[in-house]
Symmetry: D2
Subunit: 436 residues, 4 copies
């Protein structure tokens, strides 16, 4: 089996690279992955997958941080110009850019899910010559959008896995469900797919990330410790006035915001585990001699558990409200992202290890690694585990040109082959798991 898989992947490497560079060049940020998702759907369809797409797999009300309608429309137009597949675009319109491919073997067996995220970051890609995508001619042509977190490779891996599993269909039993998710950045998209029921029948679930400061050739079977998180956009609306002539007429939204910033950071630590708060961005005021009439903040809370994150969130909301009242401003709080904490299923770790160790270029396998940050695949893991299934989040090391979210981020594309083989073996050997 392992040789078969290795050979199959080897032969598709040029295709993988082409896919990844194509996605890189036409980088699309969260909820506007019109071109990417349409390409994914077209390929899956071509290979014989049953397609679920758009509203079917993305619950409208559960989406978070969706851009304004005008931006969505403009981006859809952009996607068409950049070669989006016309057949699938209508399903994706309005920011429903999720795709699921289903392969039903007809044989009894578990439903096995894989999830890949497709969105780029709001970063302007480096145009310096020592940046490989620039030199190679596939740097992003979409201003302010860049695959600086490797989701271009994730999508390519998902496609490679889909193609391979369809080729190996006879070796499989049960059902395969390959989930392509929008808007992971800002943890905005997973919940909408979970709430659409996409994960409800999945018994074995795998997702993962490339990079993560792990060397090429190393695989982590289960990444734990993701912090539950909530992302908030906060606006204070006060009343502008001439700062010299009639300061008393102003309602200073910036004073409200500054008070909020200080007090948000002073939310008491939680004795039950790690908590975090950050006001990452504050833009307030319009002119030097005008009492600031409005202020905008990007805030996030985190917690080692969802309970702790919830505690942070409740306190944060309270502080924001109080700050507004202080300065007779109106506050507006919008939740634009959310993820919970969730650990990989312990029972799955040795099984994953067994598969990863069979992959030729893998020279080190780690059971569990504590990750930092947040990841919305946790919603999916949790849904599967809540239903009695097993789920794990893997990591695949690769050489990075610069850190995640940096304008010079780049990967060693060899990691794609490693990931596809590991995932494929996890699907193909699922029978072993039952025997354990």
């Amino acid at each position: 089996m392992k040789q078969q898989v290795a050979d199959a992947v080897k032969s598709m490497i040029p295709e993988l690279v082409a896919w990844r560079r194509d996605f890189h060049q036409f980088a699309e940020s969260g909820w506007v992955e019109f071109r990417t998702a349409s390409k994914v759907a077209a390929l899956l369809k071509e290979w014989g997958y049953d397609i679920r797409i758009g509203h079917e797999v993305v619950k409208a009300e559960a989406r978070m941080g969706v851009p304004h309608a005008a931006f969505l429309a403009e981006q859809e137009k952009r996607a068409i110009e950049q070669g989006a597949e016309a057949e699938w675009l209508p399903y994706l319109s309005g920011g429903f850019t999720g795709v699921v491919g289903i392969l039903d073997t007809g044989k009894p067996g578990p439903t096995i899910g894989f999830r890949f995220d497709m969105d780029a970051l709001d970063i302007q890609e480096s145009m310096e010559d020592d940046h490989l995508p620039k030199a190679g001619g596939y740097a992003s042509i979409n201003a302010g959008m860049m695959h600086a977190c490797g989701h271009d490779a994730h999508t390519a891996i998902g496609l490679g896995l889909a193609k391979l599993l369809m080729e190996q269909k006879d070796q499989l039993s049960g059902r395969i469900k390959i989930v392509f998710q929008p808007a992971e950045e800002g943890v905005r998209g997973a919940k909408a797919m979970v709430e659409a029921g996409v994960l409800d029948d999945v018994e074995l679930f795998f997702s993962g990330h490339i990079g993560c400061d792990i060397p090429l050739g190393e695989v982590v079977c289960g990444a734990n410790g993701y912090l539950a998180t909530t992302k908030l956009d906060v606006t204070f609306k006060g009343y502008a006035a001439h700062a010299g002539g009639s300061p008393e007429e102003g309602k200073n939204a910036l004073l409200a915001a500054a008070s909020a910033v200080l007090n948000l950071h002073s939310i008491p630590r939680h004795s039950k585990g790690a908590s975090r708060i950050n006001v990452g961005v504050l833009h307030g005021g319009s002119g030097r001699n005008v009492v600031p009439g409005s202020a905008f903040l990007k805030v996030e809370t985190r917690g080692a558990t969802s309970e702790i994150n919830e505690y942070m969130l409740e306190r944060a909301v309270q502080i924001i409200k109080g700050a507004a009242i202080m300065h007779e401003a109106q506050e507006q709080i919008e939740i634009v992202g959310m993820a919970n904490n969730c650990d990989s299923s312990e029972a799955l770790i040795p099984y994953i290890r067994a598969q990863a160790e069979q992959v030729a270029d893998v020279h080190a396998v780690h059971d569990i690694v504590e990750a930092g940050g947040s990841e919305d695949a946790t919603y999916m893991l949790q849904r599967v585990q809540d239903n009695g299934g097993l789920a794990s989040y893997l990591m695949f090391g690769t050489t990075l040109a610069a850190g995640h979210h940096n304008e010079k981020f780049d990967i060693d594309e060899k990691v794609m082959a490693i990931a596809i083989q590991t995932y494929a073996l996890c699907a193909l050997n699922a029978g072993d798991l039952a025997k354990r």
Copy 2:
């Protein structure tokens, strides 16, 4: 006339000094002037004044910053031990320590009011030997109470004036109303006497202050520019918790208070005139390792006009409420003092000047001086002016051993004779005023 008055005052100087030193020794702070007020009533009665006292002249609900009942009771007991007049004490009981003496000449003429404040400050008097009251054996024997603002002399002046005017009754026409007010410090008492109607029939009104950094022998006819002010006691109640073991259980009242302090001071300036805000005192928390469950603040607002002070107050209340909400604390705001701004009647200035210039020891008379700070006699001036009367606030210079409110404050008692003569002439020559 002026010689008659001069002679009369000269003869009562030993008495004046004795009164003033007696009040100094038995200093009583606001609303507990039980001994002082009872002595005043007894003397006025003795001289033939018609007495109004207690509830009659002090409206209960309009009193501000009244101490707790237990303290009132304890102080009343103290006053008895210190020789309060038993006849009058029952009227004063519970903090109704205002007295008004009325002299009706039976002849047609205006009702002329004079006001003297009787209360001491919450200051511990100096016991150093270079402090004259200490050396002279009449330093305050009441712990934490001291006449460090000259109201002992004001009361003695009021008595001297009362005695003199009764002696000169035949020279007078109309009615004389001499008002002895409690609790001027913290601007707590005047409003309650005004609301009891004490000033309603007064057509000519004079009050004043000794000291004020003016040299002995100088008189100011009208002190203007007192700022309208409101005094607030603010309490934040949160919830205490162990700061190491369970910080998340606390509701930090000190964080609420600190936010309030910063934001109170940042209330926008008012373009129409001077404004002030001060958090003069903050006491918060109970122990180093306990999340502070409560905090207490003494706050004051001021404004060049009552409108500006009102603006400051409204903003302050809003900020206090918002600060409480921020940290899930309960705020409690008590108004414990209030005064408005009010200018002396311009029409009265030349008349007062004319009287003051007749007083032998006066070598300089100023028309108008801009005062700082606040004074609750302004309530009385305003009531008289609102009713169409004339009112002025005078200043009588005297040599000071130390600044007002200092533990070594002391005056040159000669100022008392100057003040009495000026006031007496203002009453005796009131006929001239009509002619102007």
Copy 3:
């Protein structure tokens, strides 16, 4: 004389309107008035004025808030494309956009100065059809630059006055100095011209403003009460870090900035007069999940006197420094604008009134009006007064379509004729002044 002047102005009205609309269409903000200043120089030269320009009249080190070199270069290029006068551009290069025209009558008499400011605001002009400049085809074609404060008309008035005085040269004695100043907005330019000595020989000085909420046909002889002011750009540089993964590594520049904002607004009021502080703009942080590594603030202080403004500034600098230290950030403070307070010479008011009353369309003349805000012509008034001269700042009412600094600001151009006549008479009748 007055008829002569009236006729002369009447005949130049089409020209005035053309100049004003040309400057309006090619609006240039502070220090990049390359086209405007070159046109002014060319016309003055044509009419026979002796020209002083560039470094000669603008002291490099005393300029404030000069844009970056790249922007200056780009704007100079833009000016060339828009028809700047090639002869004069080299003098203005690098942001030395001041021009002075001198007319020496050769007859004994005082040196009389007039000052006109030429710069536009950083505002995007309205493109709605009810906005007259749009409808009339002369709305600003320079993005983000608009004459929304009437300096286009000021410049045209200056040109009209220059032309008229040259025509009436025989009626004049002494010297005329017409000063065209850059960068009044943000009070950045006057000081550099004063320090270059431009005002040193001026004995009689006039400047002024149109609009100011005064009706068309009304003239104010002396506008007083401008607040002294200082404009500060403040940058806090901290250290960015991942807010979830390693918050302790961050030095939070936004916390420093928020602390600064709160504490700046809480600088104590000054008992000697009005003071102001405003943080009009705050931009901090780069991303929601990043500890903010930098923050930028636009701050201004004001005071009824230069001493009070100095007090505010010193306190502000102290607070900014302390805030930086608190969060281990580096602060950078740049003074980008400054003006002092200065009152018009009282002795000049009746003279100006006498001239204004001769102007046909003037139906009301006011002696003194208290203005709000700040104005850097005060530097010039002060220099003239310090040298024993007389100086005044006038106001010429006009109908406004929208308030100053609004994107729909527009004037009634008739005001230009009124202003020119008033100024011209002030110069032509200067002999009368000596007789007073």
Copy 4:
């Protein structure tokens, strides 16, 4: 052995109770345990212990939070009046209230140390009748000092252990060192004894606490997880001024303090483990109408490790300094307490369990419990462990009438017998430990 020990302890119970109640009645807070320490020394001496006392065992410069000299002197006088042992008092004078008793068996073997803390809390003991010490007539007679944390029992246990071990001297080998420490509350005293070298020769070390919400009859072999901590007293000195008359002359120490409070609480969380900050007390200002000239804060930092606590402390100091600079105040920071984190030696746990299980009234033994809060015995554990020795911190459950640090705190005195037996067996069976 265990029976021998049980019998010996049983016979001394009345004595134990008497000691404990005596110490309870004459409760002495940190650094003024003059009476307690002198009694301890006298008894140890009587039983044949070699005494080390005062400067010998308490390093002057390493003491923290020592009261002012006047208070020390007054308390020493009080102790004499309350029966302190005159022989030992001179050694303790000035706040050197540590005592060490040494028993050298002369036989080869390890040096075994035990530590007991003697100080009371700054709490006024309840005088309600349902409070047993009140009812029993041994409530504290020292105002504001109360054994509300059980150190009275600790001292009695130490004495009981000392007496028993001397009785059992023949069963022992090596040396026994019994350390009586002052000023554990506020973690002020341990460091001074460690720095005096008291622990340098100790190879096996035991300390512990009674209560801790553990039921009577249960013993914890090793309490871990104490947070490293630093206690700071912070004073801001500004400059007072009249808030109405000349606010600009003030340097507002309360604004500095409020800014410090907010910013201290906003020190970033540490990704490596728990951190804490608390401003437990803030007292600022002198009067409502005075710009606060001073403010005082009680602050504490904590960390899961000494490194994290150090991080918190450094940040805190920086913030305090910055806050002072902001308002031109002078800050004064005094470290008045310190403890580090330190875990019990794992190797010692089974040994302690073996001893505790032999004690008749013990019905449950726990290996390791995670404690909260802070404890300065950790300095001693660490010194012993650093020298290659083994050390553990035990807990002995007892029924509490009210929580630790409550004015109604009371214990079930039976715990004393359990603790003595456990400690005694730990010493007597030390030979077994070598065999493990």
